[in-house]
Protein backbone atom coordinates (compact mmCIF):
# COMPACT_ATOMS: atom_id res chain seq x y z
CA UNK A 1 0.00 0.00 0.00
CA UNK A 2 1.20 3.46 -0.85
CA UNK A 3 2.75 5.72 1.75
CA UNK A 4 1.34 9.23 2.07
CA UNK A 5 3.25 12.16 3.47
CA UNK A 6 1.41 14.96 5.22
CA UNK A 7 2.09 17.61 7.82
CA UNK A 8 0.33 17.70 11.16
CA UNK A 9 0.89 20.85 13.21
CA UNK A 10 3.90 21.62 11.02
CA UNK A 11 5.46 18.19 11.53
CA UNK A 12 6.14 15.90 8.60
CA UNK A 13 4.30 12.61 9.14
CA UNK A 14 4.02 9.57 6.92
CA UNK A 15 1.06 7.24 6.96
CA UNK A 16 -0.34 4.33 5.00
CA UNK A 17 -2.98 5.02 2.39
CA UNK A 18 -6.38 4.37 3.93
CA UNK A 19 -5.35 5.40 7.43
CA UNK A 20 -7.22 8.21 9.10
CA UNK A 21 -5.65 11.50 10.16
CA UNK A 22 -6.39 10.48 13.76
CA UNK A 23 -4.42 7.25 13.37
CA UNK A 24 -1.54 9.07 11.71
CA UNK A 25 -1.47 11.67 14.48
CA UNK A 26 -1.62 9.04 17.22
CA UNK A 27 1.27 7.12 15.67
CA UNK A 28 3.28 10.34 15.55
CA UNK A 29 2.48 11.04 19.19
CA UNK A 30 0.24 14.01 18.41
CA UNK A 31 -2.80 14.17 20.67
CA UNK A 32 -6.21 14.90 19.14
CA UNK A 33 -9.11 14.86 21.63
CA UNK A 34 -11.80 12.24 20.88
CA UNK A 35 -14.96 10.98 22.54
CA UNK A 36 -16.89 8.74 20.15
CA UNK A 37 -13.75 7.07 18.80
CA UNK A 38 -12.95 3.70 20.35
CA UNK A 39 -9.94 1.64 19.32
CA UNK A 40 -11.04 -1.59 17.68
CA UNK A 41 -14.42 -0.51 16.34
CA UNK A 42 -15.44 1.54 13.30
CA UNK A 43 -15.62 5.34 13.45
CA UNK A 44 -18.64 7.42 12.57
CA UNK A 45 -17.71 11.00 13.44
CA UNK A 46 -20.54 11.51 15.91
CA UNK A 47 -19.06 13.76 18.59
CA UNK A 48 -17.02 16.29 16.52
CA UNK A 49 -14.40 16.51 19.29
CA UNK A 50 -11.62 15.57 16.85
CA UNK A 51 -12.30 18.35 14.35
CA UNK A 52 -9.14 19.62 12.64
CA UNK A 53 -8.30 22.39 10.20
CA UNK A 54 -7.12 21.54 6.69
CA UNK A 55 -4.85 23.79 4.59
CA UNK A 56 -6.74 26.93 3.60
CA UNK A 57 -10.16 25.30 3.77
CA UNK A 58 -12.63 27.09 6.06
CA UNK A 59 -14.37 23.75 6.61
CA UNK A 60 -13.44 21.69 9.66
CA UNK A 61 -13.10 17.92 9.29
CA UNK A 62 -13.37 15.13 11.87
CA UNK A 63 -9.93 13.49 12.06
CA UNK A 64 -11.34 10.08 13.02
CA UNK A 65 -13.02 9.58 9.65
CA UNK A 66 -10.77 11.76 7.47
CA UNK A 67 -8.43 9.69 5.30
CA UNK A 68 -4.83 10.84 4.89
CA UNK A 69 -3.81 12.30 1.52
CA UNK A 70 -0.50 13.30 0.00
CA UNK A 71 0.56 16.83 0.92
CA UNK A 72 -2.30 17.36 3.37
CA UNK A 73 -1.74 20.17 5.88
CA UNK A 74 -3.49 19.47 9.15
CA UNK A 75 -3.76 21.71 12.20
CA UNK A 76 -5.09 20.09 15.36
CA UNK A 77 -4.81 22.73 18.01
CA UNK A 78 -5.74 26.26 16.89
CA UNK A 79 -7.63 28.77 19.03
CA UNK A 80 -10.68 28.22 16.90
CA UNK A 81 -10.59 24.44 17.42
CA UNK A 82 -10.07 24.79 21.16
CA UNK A 83 -13.03 27.14 21.32
CA UNK A 84 -15.30 24.70 19.47
CA UNK A 85 -14.16 21.71 21.51
CA UNK A 86 -14.91 23.56 24.69
CA UNK A 87 -18.33 24.46 23.36
CA UNK A 88 -19.06 20.83 22.46
CA UNK A 89 -18.23 19.66 25.97
CA UNK A 90 -20.39 22.41 27.47
CA UNK A 91 -23.28 21.41 25.21
CA UNK A 92 -22.89 17.76 26.21
CA UNK A 93 -22.86 18.70 29.87
CA UNK A 94 -25.98 20.84 29.58
CA UNK A 95 -27.94 18.29 27.53
CA UNK A 96 -28.45 15.64 30.22
CA UNK A 97 -27.81 15.40 33.95
CA UNK A 98 -24.08 15.04 34.51
CA UNK A 99 -23.92 15.37 38.26
CA UNK A 100 -20.36 14.10 38.65
CA UNK A 101 -20.33 14.17 42.44
CA UNK A 102 -22.86 11.34 42.64
CA UNK A 103 -21.81 9.44 39.49
CA UNK A 104 -20.36 5.93 39.58
CA UNK A 105 -17.68 7.06 37.14
CA UNK A 106 -16.58 10.20 39.00
CA UNK A 107 -12.82 10.44 38.54
CA UNK A 108 -12.76 7.82 35.76
CA UNK A 109 -14.91 9.45 33.13
CA UNK A 110 -13.77 10.46 29.65
CA UNK A 111 -16.26 13.34 29.50
CA UNK A 112 -15.04 14.67 32.82
CA UNK A 113 -11.40 14.24 31.76
CA UNK A 114 -12.15 16.12 28.56
CA UNK A 115 -13.74 18.99 30.49
CA UNK A 116 -10.64 19.18 32.68
CA UNK A 117 -8.30 18.99 29.68
CA UNK A 118 -10.11 21.85 27.94
CA UNK A 119 -10.57 23.97 31.04
CA UNK A 120 -14.37 23.74 31.12
CA UNK A 121 -15.39 24.84 34.60
CA UNK A 122 -19.01 25.67 33.86
CA UNK A 123 -21.44 25.61 30.95
CA UNK A 124 -22.50 28.88 29.36
CA UNK A 125 -25.64 27.11 28.09
CA UNK A 126 -28.75 26.57 30.15
CA UNK A 127 -29.00 23.08 31.57
CA UNK A 128 -31.97 21.22 30.15
CA UNK A 129 -32.48 18.90 33.16
CA UNK A 130 -34.37 16.25 31.19
CA UNK A 131 -36.07 13.45 33.07
CA UNK A 132 -34.18 10.35 31.98
CA UNK A 133 -34.60 6.68 32.74
CA UNK A 134 -32.32 4.40 34.71
CA UNK A 135 -32.63 0.73 33.76
CA UNK A 136 -31.25 -1.76 36.27
CA UNK A 137 -33.23 -4.78 35.10
CA UNK A 138 -30.13 -6.57 33.80
CA UNK A 139 -28.73 -9.03 36.30
CA UNK A 140 -25.23 -7.55 36.29
CA UNK A 141 -25.30 -4.18 34.55
CA UNK A 142 -27.27 -0.96 34.49
CA UNK A 143 -27.79 1.95 32.11
CA UNK A 144 -28.37 5.48 33.34
CA UNK A 145 -29.57 7.64 30.45
CA UNK A 146 -28.80 10.76 32.47
CA UNK A 147 -25.11 10.20 31.76
CA UNK A 148 -25.34 9.14 28.13
CA UNK A 149 -23.67 11.35 25.52
CA UNK A 150 -24.99 9.35 22.53
CA UNK A 151 -21.50 8.49 21.31
CA UNK A 152 -22.69 5.10 20.05
CA UNK A 153 -19.68 3.20 21.37
CA UNK A 154 -21.91 0.65 23.09
CA UNK A 155 -23.81 0.13 19.83
CA UNK A 156 -20.67 -0.48 17.80
CA UNK A 157 -18.82 -2.66 20.30
CA UNK A 158 -21.84 -4.90 20.83
CA UNK A 159 -22.43 -5.21 17.09
CA UNK A 160 -18.88 -5.38 15.76
CA UNK A 161 -16.98 -7.14 18.53
CA UNK A 162 -19.55 -9.22 20.42
CA UNK A 163 -21.86 -9.68 17.43
CA UNK A 164 -25.05 -9.46 19.48
CA UNK A 165 -26.26 -6.02 18.34
CA UNK A 166 -28.28 -5.56 21.48
CA UNK A 167 -27.93 -1.76 21.44
CA UNK A 168 -29.03 0.75 18.86
CA UNK A 169 -30.03 4.38 18.71
CA UNK A 170 -33.74 5.24 18.67
CA UNK A 171 -35.42 8.52 17.82
CA UNK A 172 -33.63 11.36 16.11
CA UNK A 173 -31.85 14.60 16.86
CA UNK A 174 -32.07 15.89 20.40
CA UNK A 175 -34.62 13.19 21.20
CA UNK A 176 -32.27 10.27 20.41
CA UNK A 177 -31.62 7.66 23.05
CA UNK A 178 -29.93 4.28 23.23
CA UNK A 179 -32.11 1.19 23.41
CA UNK A 180 -31.68 -2.52 24.08
CA UNK A 181 -33.62 -4.77 21.68
CA UNK A 182 -37.18 -3.42 21.19
CA UNK A 183 -36.65 -0.51 23.58
CA UNK A 184 -37.45 -3.03 26.29
CA UNK A 185 -35.86 -3.49 29.71
CA UNK A 186 -32.26 -4.64 29.28
CA UNK A 187 -32.97 -7.56 31.60
CA UNK A 188 -35.59 -8.85 29.14
CA UNK A 189 -33.24 -8.62 26.16
CA UNK A 190 -32.98 -11.89 24.27
CA UNK A 191 -29.85 -10.90 22.33
CA UNK A 192 -27.58 -9.74 25.19
CA UNK A 193 -24.96 -12.31 26.16
CA UNK A 194 -23.97 -10.39 29.30
CA UNK A 195 -20.41 -10.16 28.01
CA UNK A 196 -19.84 -6.71 29.50
CA UNK A 197 -18.16 -5.16 26.47
CA UNK A 198 -20.54 -2.21 26.39
CA UNK A 199 -19.73 -1.52 30.03
CA UNK A 200 -16.04 -1.24 29.21
CA UNK A 201 -16.71 0.75 26.02
CA UNK A 202 -18.94 3.44 27.51
CA UNK A 203 -16.91 6.62 28.15
CA UNK A 204 -19.12 7.89 30.96
CA UNK A 205 -21.04 6.43 33.87
CA UNK A 206 -24.01 5.69 31.60
CA UNK A 207 -23.37 1.95 31.42
CA UNK A 208 -22.07 0.51 34.66
CA UNK A 209 -21.59 -2.63 36.64
CA UNK A 210 -24.23 -3.06 39.32
CA UNK A 211 -22.91 -2.72 42.84
CA UNK A 212 -20.51 0.08 41.96
CA UNK A 213 -21.02 3.17 44.09
CA UNK A 214 -19.87 6.76 43.55
CA UNK A 215 -16.52 6.88 41.77
CA UNK A 216 -16.07 3.10 41.82
CA UNK A 217 -16.81 2.33 38.19
CA UNK A 218 -13.44 2.12 36.45
CA UNK A 219 -13.62 0.98 32.85
CA UNK A 220 -10.95 -1.40 31.64
CA UNK A 221 -10.38 -0.82 27.93
CA UNK A 222 -7.51 -3.32 27.82
CA UNK A 223 -10.19 -6.05 27.93
CA UNK A 224 -11.54 -4.79 24.62
CA UNK A 225 -8.09 -4.44 23.09
CA UNK A 226 -7.34 -8.02 24.10
CA UNK A 227 -10.42 -9.36 22.31
CA UNK A 228 -10.01 -7.18 19.23
CA UNK A 229 -6.33 -8.15 18.80
CA UNK A 230 -7.20 -11.80 19.23
CA UNK A 231 -10.00 -11.53 16.67
CA UNK A 232 -8.09 -9.56 14.07
CA UNK A 233 -4.53 -10.76 14.47
CA UNK A 234 -4.95 -14.13 16.17
CA UNK A 235 -2.62 -12.91 18.89
CA UNK A 236 -3.53 -13.34 22.52
CA UNK A 237 -1.65 -10.68 24.40
CA UNK A 238 -2.45 -9.07 27.71
Amino acid sequence: MAVKTLTIDGRLVSAMEGQTVLEAAQEAGIHIPTLCHLDGVSDLGACRMCLVELGNSPKLQPACVLKVAEGMEVRTNSDRLRKYRKMIVELLLSERNHVCSVCVSNGHCELQDMAVELGVDHSRFDYIYPVERVDITHQRFGVDHNRCILCGRCVRVCDEVEGAHTWDMAGRGAKSFVITDMNQPWGDSTSCTSCGKCVQACPTGAIFQKGATVGEMQKDRTRLEFIVTAREKKQWIG
Partner: protein
Protein backbone atom coordinates in the same frame (compact mmCIF):
# COMPACT_ATOMS: atom_id res chain seq x y z
CA UNK B 1 -46.13 -2.84 26.64
CA UNK B 2 -45.70 -6.59 26.76
CA UNK B 3 -42.66 -8.38 25.49
CA UNK B 4 -43.97 -11.87 25.89
CA UNK B 5 -44.09 -12.40 22.14
CA UNK B 6 -40.42 -11.77 21.63
CA UNK B 7 -39.39 -15.39 21.93
CA UNK B 8 -42.07 -16.76 19.69
CA UNK B 9 -41.45 -16.42 16.00
CA UNK B 10 -44.91 -15.16 15.12
CA UNK B 11 -47.47 -13.13 17.02
CA UNK B 12 -50.68 -15.00 17.78
CA UNK B 13 -52.61 -12.87 15.32
CA UNK B 14 -50.60 -14.47 12.51
CA UNK B 15 -51.58 -17.92 13.64
CA UNK B 16 -55.17 -16.75 13.61
CA UNK B 17 -54.76 -15.92 9.92
CA UNK B 18 -54.93 -12.13 10.26
CA UNK B 19 -55.22 -11.01 6.66
CA UNK B 20 -53.08 -7.96 7.34
CA UNK B 21 -50.14 -10.22 8.09
CA UNK B 22 -50.75 -11.96 4.76
CA UNK B 23 -50.47 -8.59 3.03
CA UNK B 24 -47.26 -7.90 4.90
CA UNK B 25 -45.97 -11.34 3.91
CA UNK B 26 -46.48 -10.40 0.27
CA UNK B 27 -44.52 -7.18 0.75
CA UNK B 28 -41.66 -9.03 2.44
CA UNK B 29 -41.60 -11.66 -0.32
CA UNK B 30 -41.55 -8.95 -2.95
CA UNK B 31 -38.23 -7.89 -1.48
CA UNK B 32 -37.03 -11.49 -1.16
CA UNK B 33 -36.64 -11.00 2.59
CA UNK B 34 -33.61 -8.81 1.88
CA UNK B 35 -32.42 -7.08 5.01
CA UNK B 36 -31.70 -3.88 3.10
CA UNK B 37 -35.39 -3.62 2.28
CA UNK B 38 -36.16 -2.74 5.90
CA UNK B 39 -37.48 0.73 5.12
CA UNK B 40 -39.72 -0.52 2.31
CA UNK B 41 -41.10 -3.27 4.53
CA UNK B 42 -41.71 -0.85 7.42
CA UNK B 43 -43.46 1.41 4.94
CA UNK B 44 -45.77 -1.39 3.87
CA UNK B 45 -46.41 -2.39 7.49
CA UNK B 46 -47.22 1.18 8.49
CA UNK B 47 -49.73 1.47 5.63
CA UNK B 48 -51.33 -1.88 6.41
CA UNK B 49 -51.49 -1.60 10.21
CA UNK B 50 -51.55 2.17 10.75
CA UNK B 51 -48.80 1.87 13.35
CA UNK B 52 -45.96 -0.47 14.23
CA UNK B 53 -46.42 -2.25 17.53
CA UNK B 54 -43.74 -4.33 19.22
CA UNK B 55 -45.05 -7.70 17.99
CA UNK B 56 -45.10 -6.43 14.44
CA UNK B 57 -41.55 -5.06 14.65
CA UNK B 58 -40.31 -8.34 16.15
CA UNK B 59 -42.03 -10.18 13.30
CA UNK B 60 -40.31 -7.95 10.74
CA UNK B 61 -36.87 -8.26 12.32
CA UNK B 62 -37.14 -12.08 12.39
CA UNK B 63 -38.22 -12.19 8.76
CA UNK B 64 -35.47 -9.87 7.57
CA UNK B 65 -32.97 -11.47 9.98
CA UNK B 66 -32.12 -8.11 11.53
CA UNK B 67 -31.28 -7.14 15.13
CA UNK B 68 -34.36 -6.09 17.10
CA UNK B 69 -32.80 -2.82 18.20
CA UNK B 70 -31.88 -1.88 14.65
CA UNK B 71 -35.46 -2.31 13.45
CA UNK B 72 -36.79 -0.31 16.39
CA UNK B 73 -34.14 2.36 15.79
CA UNK B 74 -35.09 2.79 12.14
CA UNK B 75 -38.81 2.75 12.96
CA UNK B 76 -38.36 5.61 15.42
CA UNK B 77 -35.95 7.63 13.27
CA UNK B 78 -38.34 8.43 10.44
CA UNK B 79 -41.29 10.63 11.09
CA UNK B 80 -43.46 8.60 8.74
CA UNK B 81 -43.44 5.62 11.09
CA UNK B 82 -45.36 5.51 14.31
CA UNK B 83 -44.78 2.94 17.05
CA UNK B 84 -47.93 3.78 18.95
CA UNK B 85 -51.50 3.88 17.72
CA UNK B 86 -52.57 7.07 16.02
CA UNK B 87 -55.85 8.76 16.70
CA UNK B 88 -58.92 8.40 14.50
CA UNK B 89 -58.08 11.87 13.17
CA UNK B 90 -54.57 13.15 12.60
CA UNK B 91 -53.30 16.68 12.29
CA UNK B 92 -49.68 17.05 11.21
CA UNK B 93 -48.21 20.54 11.27
CA UNK B 94 -45.20 21.13 9.03
CA UNK B 95 -42.29 22.69 10.91
CA UNK B 96 -39.99 22.86 7.89
CA UNK B 97 -38.13 26.09 7.22
CA UNK B 98 -40.66 27.58 4.80
CA UNK B 99 -43.65 26.80 6.99
CA UNK B 100 -41.82 27.84 10.11
CA UNK B 101 -41.06 31.28 8.77
CA UNK B 102 -44.71 31.58 7.67
CA UNK B 103 -45.93 31.01 11.21
CA UNK B 104 -46.08 27.23 11.80
CA UNK B 105 -45.43 27.89 15.50
CA UNK B 106 -48.66 29.86 15.74
CA UNK B 107 -50.54 27.03 14.02
CA UNK B 108 -49.23 24.45 16.44
CA UNK B 109 -50.05 26.70 19.39
CA UNK B 110 -53.60 27.12 18.07
CA UNK B 111 -53.96 23.36 17.55
CA UNK B 112 -52.67 22.65 21.03
CA UNK B 113 -55.04 25.17 22.53
CA UNK B 114 -58.22 23.89 20.90
CA UNK B 115 -57.40 20.19 21.38
CA UNK B 116 -55.83 20.36 24.82
CA UNK B 117 -53.03 18.13 23.52
CA UNK B 118 -49.33 18.80 23.11
CA UNK B 119 -47.79 18.07 19.73
CA UNK B 120 -46.73 14.44 19.60
CA UNK B 121 -49.66 13.40 21.78
CA UNK B 122 -52.74 11.35 21.04
CA UNK B 123 -55.95 12.02 22.95
CA UNK B 124 -56.52 9.38 25.61
CA UNK B 125 -59.79 8.35 23.91
CA UNK B 126 -57.84 7.75 20.68
CA UNK B 127 -59.82 10.39 18.84
CA UNK B 128 -57.06 12.72 17.67
CA UNK B 129 -53.29 12.81 17.21
CA UNK B 130 -51.38 16.06 16.95
CA UNK B 131 -48.03 15.79 15.23
CA UNK B 132 -45.34 17.83 13.57
CA UNK B 133 -43.20 17.01 10.55
CA UNK B 134 -40.11 18.29 8.82
CA UNK B 135 -40.72 19.78 5.37
CA UNK B 136 -43.53 17.84 3.72
CA UNK B 137 -42.65 19.11 0.25
CA UNK B 138 -45.42 21.67 -0.04
CA UNK B 139 -43.34 24.79 0.63
CA UNK B 140 -45.12 26.69 -2.18
CA UNK B 141 -48.34 26.73 -0.16
CA UNK B 142 -46.71 27.28 3.24
CA UNK B 143 -47.72 27.18 6.01
CA UNK B 144 -48.96 23.68 5.24
CA UNK B 145 -50.57 21.03 7.40
CA UNK B 146 -51.81 17.50 6.80
CA UNK B 147 -55.33 16.81 7.99
CA UNK B 148 -56.21 13.12 7.94
CA UNK B 149 -53.66 12.50 5.23
CA UNK B 150 -54.72 15.46 3.08
CA UNK B 151 -52.23 18.29 2.53
CA UNK B 152 -53.74 21.74 2.90
CA UNK B 153 -51.82 25.00 2.49
CA UNK B 154 -52.14 28.67 3.30
CA UNK B 155 -53.28 27.89 6.82
CA UNK B 156 -54.13 30.41 9.50
CA UNK B 157 -54.69 29.93 13.22
CA UNK B 158 -58.41 30.40 12.65
CA UNK B 159 -58.55 27.76 9.91
CA UNK B 160 -56.75 25.18 12.02
CA UNK B 161 -58.92 25.93 15.03
CA UNK B 162 -62.07 25.75 12.91
CA UNK B 163 -61.19 22.38 11.40
CA UNK B 164 -60.17 20.80 14.71
CA UNK B 165 -63.25 22.23 16.39
CA UNK B 166 -65.31 20.53 13.71
CA UNK B 167 -63.73 17.18 14.51
CA UNK B 168 -64.07 17.70 18.23
CA UNK B 169 -67.70 18.81 18.04
CA UNK B 170 -68.54 15.91 15.73
CA UNK B 171 -67.65 13.78 18.73
CA UNK B 172 -65.11 12.52 16.23
Amino acid sequence: MSFSAIDSALPSSVMGGDSRYKLLETAIKRHQSQSDALIEVLHAAQEIFGYLDTDLLVHISKNLKLPLSKVYGVATFYHFFSVSPRGAHTCVICMGTACYTKGARKLSAAAEKISGLKVGETASDGSLSLMTARCIGACGIAPAIVMDGKVVGGQSEEMVTEQLKGWIEDGF
